[in-house]
Symmetry: D2
Subunit: 454 residues, 4 copies
């Protein structure tokens, strides 16, 4: 192993538009998007990424940019990168690609991030029925810590990670995705997988040529039209990894990705300075541009050796993550519980989504007694190092979910105490998030308590 100066493989300039970059990113998953680079196993290489919206969000005090964000353009991924072994033989379908995250950080010169909630009519968030308006908080990075003028009084160590990283799907896997997500949308609001209730957020985002950027495939070509018409959107996590949003996936971690196409075609983006489990506000981590320094290993035949695919296609697989020893240590936590009874008092059956929604709402209500607005806490819980746990999933009819928040990130003691929380002159106002009014173009559905989960 020679001294390890990372090989610069993809550079990005956050001041330029995505389509102006030297190595154009892509914002869809498709096997035909051509690699922008090739690396060998063992190489330490550096990939830069722009923020997931491609620069649509600004460092200011208005949430108008969040309100009008064009989600058809997200997420901008750097890559694909073709991976070969030391002899030049590419990774092949059936292998596992081990990706070690050696270093991560913000892009020099662009050290800031944002957390937002989308307008209910433009994607919303986990609690969009409670908080339908677009909001935003700007975060500055202070060494290992993040702080925000929009949520004063909190400061926490970041766990920088890629929100989105994965290998390219094969044509066969892509078809499976489009089929199953299409079926959900087609079944629509009567789908049996929705709990039979009205929903307040999109069911799924199907292939959409509008806004598609496909690397070097010329935008007016036939190839572009074909690929854009069938490429999968990047929003959900799937068999290839993708938008897995695992908040601890930081320095020293390793991911084992299934390989579906020759060369693996690894892509990544959507860098986060920090995220809470669940990323509840949707635009929810501290979103930023950034860089990754990584290296790869190929485990030949690893898919068969280590994974147990479901179904006849053997493609329902999953990545495996290995977490290292460098997480911040927090000693003390305050933990909020939710059970699967919704805000209207209705009982749901072992529904962890409802339970987690209740845990988040309970925490928001609680922390709002300490000088924060509920919108501030909603954004905070989306991006601070809080842990969302499925504590009980078997005790009919209630799922129990918990949300644990480290006490040390606040500049006040947020524990319950005899005498109650600060009131009157003791209560320090903590300002508010940047906002944008909700216009309410769609009527709220008849079941206002429904969480994003349904």
């Amino acid at each position: 192993m020679p001294p390890r100066t990372p090989i610069p493989v993809v550079k990005m300039d956050p001041k330029k538009a995505p389509w102006e970059q030297e190595k154009k990113p892509h914002n869809r998953w498709h096997p035909d998007i051509p690699p922008v680079a090739e690396v060998k196993t063992g190489d330490l290489f550096r990939v830069e990424t722009i923020d997931w919206t491609g620069g649509q969000i600004k460092d200011d005090d208005s949430a108008e940019d969040i309100k009008h964000v064009d989600l058809s353009r997200c997420h901008y991924l750097s890559g694909p990168i073709r991976i070969t072994d030391e002899k030049g033989e590419p990774a092949r379908p059936g292998d596992l690609l081990a990706v070690e995250l050696c270093n991560l950080g913000p892009l020099p010169g662009d050290e800031w991030g944002y957390t937002g909630t989308f307008d209910r009519d433009n994607g919303g968030g986990f609690l969009t029925d409670h908080f339908p308006e677009a909001t935003k908080a700007i975060w500055y990075f202070d060494g290992i810590y993040a702080a925000s003028r929009h949520i004063p009084g909190v400061r926490f160590a970041g766990l920088i990670h890629p929100g989105l990283i994965g290998t390219a799907p094969s044509h066969e896997l892509l078809k499976i995705w489009n089929d199953r997500e299409g079926a959900l949308v087609e079944a629509g609001e009567n789908s049996t997988t929705l709990g039979g209730v009205l929903h307040t957020r999109p069911l799924a985002l199907l292939p959409e040529p509008k806004g598609a950027l496909l690397g070097d495939i010329p935008a007016d070509s036939a190839a572009w039209a074909k690929v854009a018409g069938e490429a999968a959107r990047t929003i959900p996590g799937r068999e290839n990894g993708g938008n897995c949003d695992i908040k601890n996936l930081s320095r020293g971690c390793k991911v084992y990705f299934p390989v579906f196409v020759e060369g693996a075609n690894l892509s990544m983006g959507d860098m986060h300075f920090s995220q809470g489990d669940g990323e509840v506000s949707f635009c929810g981590a501290i979103e930023m541009s950034g860089f990754l320094e990584i290296k790869c290993e190929i485990l030949r035949g690893g898919m068969e050796q280590y994974l147990t695919p479901m179904g006849p296609t053997k493609l329902h697989v999953h990545p495996i993550f290995e977490i290292g020893p460098l997480e911040p240590r927090y000693s003390e936590w305050l933990v909020f519980e939710g059970i699967s009874v919704d805000e209207s008092g209705k009982q749901h059956y072992l529904d962890a989504t409802v339970a987690y929604k209740r845990a988040v709402l309970n925490c928001i209500d609680y922390l709002s007694k300490f000088g924060y607005t509920k919108q501030q806490v909603y954004l905070l819980l989306s991006c601070c190092p809080c842990e969302g746990r499925i504590s009980g999933i078997v005790d009919v009819p209630n799922a129990v979910a918990t949300l644990a928040i480290p006490i040390a990130i606040f500049d006040q003691d947020i524990r319950p105490k005899a005498g109650g929380p600060p009131v009157g002159p003791r209560l320090i106002s903590r300002g508010d998030v940047a906002k944008s009014k909700y216009d309410g173009s769609k009527p709220l559905t008849m079941n206002p308590c429904m969480c994003g989960g349904h």
Copy 2:
């Protein structure tokens, strides 16, 4: 503060039946179950508990006892204990009761535990459609560690906690519980909160006089009949705490419970030597008898000060948990991901329950490549210190759940490696769990992939 020898408040003899104990336990929630003791705030007191089944499960190598367990008799709780302040004024509705867990352990002379999965026709577990038969593993305690002859090759530090602890509900709150859970059962398999699919586990367990033990209320009295007819079952966690199954609720932690009746009437039981997040096999922690040494504080008016009840009754509240600095430290974790696409390939909408089921199944499949049977891993994941996380809950249509398991609890390296897992002579067989055949009295429903969650 005088030297702190715990005041023995409730003693239990694990060799006796529940109804033979000096201070009879209770296995239902009801405000009219009379307190068995009174303590003052600041007192350090000791409460002993029998195991949740009241001694139905034996230390042997057959799962017949698990198969035929009588769930109408569970869980046996010690208490209620009436709490007053130092002047003798009782805790009152609207207060918060802070309960600090000072010490916990197995009952001397009874240092063992069990983990089981119920037969699908008798309660089942989270994966009952995959593993319908009753199984059992016996655990012995070796200082801070647990080890099992039924799952050799793993050993982990316990985090002893009460599976079940809570305050008594008021009559009004009890009625809310019965109404909402009754509505779910009544709506049955067409309930909109079930995802419109068939289920393979009971929807909810409604009040059931059979098997009810109500402390000192004579079993043949009119009072007994009234209380037993309306008392809530102990299975689910609810507004009063109850079966919250928070695995980290161990030495040095504190819980803030809402108080609904005069004196708070605190009860506890279902001691666990260790549990994994989710307690997936249902009888799923390392179940044992045990003791708690605790002390209480009353936060007068704390419910209004710190909680934000939903609805007109102001009773939809929740406890808050404070976690201390004594958790075992694990450095390295292997993390399994699940998305809300079920085993048949069907897409569900942001369903964290389906996603968590997939994460658990993915982990079971993986670990079964290291010499374990799937049943062993299922039980192991239910009781070892694994973490179940809601990693992404907003990226339509996929919820992403993760299951993280500490690498250090195994006596072999379970990480993926080039060359694959041990095979042939390198593979050490790890035996198997105690089993009982599944008779399959009910036909499996038409949707075999449905998890317990729906």
Copy 3:
């Protein structure tokens, strides 16, 4: 492995004198002290111990008992316990005895402890030239935490451990001890190993029949006279373990002791609820009575396999300690540095003892600005979970030692801040330790800055 109820091997009644106990303890090291019990490898057994002074110290607010403590009677050890393998073959010289600490705690009914500094004329402490008077703080145990009326405003989780545990020396090893310590005393103040300076504490404590308790050897027998005349004092740690005072040696840890006599003859005592690295005040941990639940394993021939004895006798060996995962986690520390320049400004050569003394004094000075007296801090640093490190030992002429104290144990923020520490009305007085006046019978030596180390 059967269910693990600990076998009660040695019981102690803290209300009785040492010589009134059923199985009399011993307070000297000698191979001829007969075992009080025999256990097999694999047995889980329980040993109770009285406090190290045998009940000389009281829970009151005077330090007169500390001042007049009779150190010839310390430390009272429970045992020796003879260890055999499962076939009844005893541990033999040359084996290693692995001792796992499964559970530890205070003796029921005696849940309190004390920390003290001895009078300079009766043993003193690390800083006896600065603090010559006897002082005392009483600690009560509150679950996992300790708190003291003599040092209000701090509270920390205990790490209960035996201050003293070890195997019996052989006759040959005992002679080595007596010879080398005798040589030090004989050389006295001119010893080349003293830095040629005057000292203010005893150089070593040689065999002393006065106060000796030797288990069941009758006090007026010839055997007693012989053994008491040559038995080693228990004060220092030596090749057999003994007074190693390793503060992290708590639940889940394992010690590998060299075996010098048939049966190993394991003894233990001097239980601590918590200790800081260095145990600087000498009577310095939170001293208490207590119990240990332990089990043993014999590693046949392990001394030769794992150790590398010095010298011709092959007896200069050492125990090895294995620390488990259950230490309290603290996130943030304040660290004080000391270099090997003493209080008079004199330069010492790479002397870690002087450097550590300076680190301790620097910390005492610092914390005394927050409402504590220096005596309070001195006692606190002796018993709270602070870490004493040798940070640099090679950079001539200065050794660098550091003392790290967890910030979370204080009820105020002790970090430096613009504006300085609290003064005037903002400064909360924290009371003081129990004291006893120093009579100053001996003149202070001419070099008042000398630490205990030289």
Copy 4:
């Protein structure tokens, strides 16, 4: 606070000699070395440093460069940097300068390091009487981990820190240093602070014009001659911080330095990728070039508020360190003990240096049974994240020091086991360090067991 791109204040090119750098470093402490830059409190600024020897050591497999290293040229420090408040008022004597370490790393393009032991005749190390020859191990950085071809089979997460950082001394403080260290050298081998024994390493390094680099002071000027003649060497840590070698001083930590001259004149260098407590091999951390991104705060009058200077000059002060939450978490440790009895069997009096030497030697002997040479372990203990503790410092006559090493850094299980360590074919040879023969020009002193501490 604007977005935080670090201001590049000092750049270094590791391919150039120290005196060819744009902003020349300095390798002596003196108040008259002029600042190379000025920054304001709150600025985030970046300082690059060359390695401590200024490029004398190469990435090869010979230790000849270590053997012949010119120590008169060390350590090369970047700076001084003058610090002012936001109004431009400089830090003043009596203030505290809080320095937060926001980010640290190797210099891009120079990602490697070395650990060595000097030849006994050229500085030696802590164990130079045992290991007199020069040795070297080269380390490559693999993300957060370090690995060496010279010590295969170990890998550990780095805790990057500056070995050397501090403020400039005043003239008065400089004179105190020179006086006290001069007195030690003058007293020489009869010094009372040496234990009266012969020593095998230099006592102290006094001002030495040869090799001095003083920033921009022209090398042939009168100013140079004056400053070089009285400037203090950088080897030891002193009142201004300097070579404190605190291994945990990494990202997220803060140091509070005393200010002795106007502007504070902060300098830093000697970057370490990782270090063990004590840095026993002297050239002992993983030495590298690197960068620091830091920011400063001035605590006006903080010296008087927080420190308690000794002596009439009020200059015997010390920095304070605040450790953050980002240390690697290790679960399990093997701990080696040493007592203050030296290799010859001689008893020393509470000598922590002798005790720590014994702990280190005991650990070296132990680990050499697992396929490593003793020289490999010596270097390993100098640079891996091991902890050196002063466990007992009061139990006459023995100080007890311990060395704790994380078990997880090895690729084999190093715990003692029945059957002993691997032998024969089971024993994997781990190669060896790079070496250079010891010529033994000086006769070994008559007391071969003496540690560096005396």
